[in-house]
Amino acid sequence: MATEKTDVVIVGVGAAGGILAAELGKAGMKVIGLERGPRLTTADFSPHDELRYFQRQELRPNVKRQPVTWRPNARERANLLPILNYGNQAGGGTVHYGTLSWRFHEDDFRPRSQTMERYGASAIPEDSSLVDWPLTYADLEPYYDRAEYELGVSGKAGNVQGRKIDGGNLFEAPRRREYPLPPLLADQSGILFEAGARKLGYHPFSSPRAILSQPYQQRPGCSYCGFCQSFGCHIGAKSSILVTKLPEADATGNFKLLTGTMSYRVNSDSSGRVTGVSYYGPDGSDNTIEAELVILSPFIYDNTRLLLLSKTTNFPNGLANSSGQVGRHLMAHIGPRVFAAFDDRFVNIYMGPSAQKHSLDDFNADNFDHSGLAFIRGAQISVTPADLEAGPIGTAMSMNPPPGIPRWGAAYRDFLAKYFARHAALVAQTENLPYADQTIDLDPNVRDQWGLPAPRLTYNWRRPNELARVEFLFKKLEELGRAMGATHVWRAPLGPGSPGAHHEGGTRMGSDPKTSVVNRYGQSWDVPNLFVIGSSTYPSMSGFNPTLTIQALAYMSADAIVTRYKNNPGPLI
């Protein structure tokens, strides 16, 4: 058993942990990062292999060794989730993500107030725990700006200091300046989407991406190979933490990364402070890091799991859980999809950055009037390959044929042969509301390869507000597919009630220690030298992909730690 001392230990070196490692290291703090997976390099991602990285999910946790279970409600036994979408290596999900880099809207930070002001309190479902955030868009704007410029995000501004700019997202919150890089080139699917959406009077634009459209910071511009979602970038044009913040952290001389390590407990003393983290090494050894400051930034499951596993007599309900809120308000995006197939042209959607290529924001957040509708909040709508990823395995697995054609046999073969290169999918990424009974806890029956209880999700998105929103969006997607000129337009079936992509919640931030786990800086109300940083702190989720907001929050927390906490350790609020 080895014991090591340091200033700061970070569990999980991904979207948030990588930024904190670099920024705290630059400020002279000695940082050790604990990472469950390996540290890969750009050279590992060439050539691209759909079976290995998409279908067999090599950049993601192995569901058999690192199981996560799900049940729709507390009365049922939980079963293993068949697929896990988060990252399992240094750089976390930013290595294989689709790179969508959104700033949340102003009303995404105050969804409860916005809804009450416009529609009255009765519009909020009674069982929803929808709340405002303890910070505003304006508070986070400088850190969004910093993330975009330091990491490298390509896009077109639609609102610079209140001035609306056609071609960008007219619904975005005001930004201080343009993106550092122009938008990526549109492919055929983007061109079709742009024309179809404009025909309907909507406001389409090229999605903001953490992919370089031009050389930037000694990295090359995108080659449009199409292997983004599920894949590492073979030229380093994806602005993943692997090629942005980790080299910065290395350069400080104050950062050490320990890969292949599984953190299993945050240690605390009788005074109520945390003293460090215990972890299993790659050789099975049992080790401890002693640290002045502990930062948790793994995927959201492991924040809740680690806090619950770290209970002591001082913290009988789990560490940092005097509020009883740890593990609650789990949220995830659901993606109703419609397929559009073209008889008169090829689309070749496997070209150009995969995932959500071109988007419109007209039906997101409270950007449209919900009066008379049976739901609040909305969804971001985009054109994408069948399964975000664009290869033929992913297409065969997730593009259901239109009604009347089975999913096997000669007719299916002919369908796939004709439409693989002639299809586009339209997807709505929904802002599902938080509900207190959607939870993460410890599975009493299933253990992982280290013998730790698996995270258990209790979650069912099929609630009246969410179902009404999905049906509304399906109709919008079908309308868009027809406006794009598709010969055939049909729906994908909805999945079971299990959580989809982009999980949020479990350690919600707030203004009141009684009803939240951490403050706006991710600092535990109960334990001031413990921070939790990532989308687990989101009080609500927005229809946008979460990563840029995770990164902005990480910059904000790093700033607060360096300028205030470092010299005067204690509560920041």
Binding site: Q55, F227, N348, I393, A410, R413, L416
Partner: protein
Amino acid sequence: MTKHDAARRAFLVRAAVGAGAVAGAGLVPDAYTQNRERQKEANAPTPAHHANGDEHGAFLNHDDAATIAAFAERIMPGAPGKPGAQDAGVLNYIDLALSGAYADLQDFYRRGLAQLDAYCRKTYNEPFLRLGAVQQDEVITALDEGKATEFTWPTAQGFFDTVRTHTMEGMFADPLYGGNKDFAGWRLVGFPGAQAIFTPTDLQSRQAFTRAPIIGLQPLAKGPSAERA
């Protein structure tokens, strides 16, 4: 066929397993005859390529291999100009996967195949292999719809879904993994493989992509142009 694959197959053929024996297995399910077939194969010159791609030997026995090959061919049937499961070597892919990456599914396949056999014998008095295409399709429909009896674990739908998934992988995974022979699956759907770059002209084209040959994982594994077969 890739170098890796060819070397591996040469070994397997020397180990007295070959295409001829597989094709015969379902029709002449007599152990003695099979042994004679195998003996003949063992003495035959080692082929570098197999014409029909229905190879096995890493995991599946002859009967099971023949059943999987026939099942996969119904899921993705071949036709002139439209390569199917056999053309792509889907059996070869599944057999290799079950001996390696999917070794934990070996018993899933064993039991699924035994249940399939029981269902077919009960319903048609014949094993799956001896059924005509129409009846084989009836069986697969019954599995897909969860209506086939005799299945406990795996369930009928679970077995169908898995074989379908692995058939698609064998059609469309890189040939390195033993299927998608000569890029048959990629040619079928018009996928140019792991292209490292697409130009602005490529992105704006409304036509099929034909500028460059299909690119696979192996440096020399470049096939005909990406134009559909």
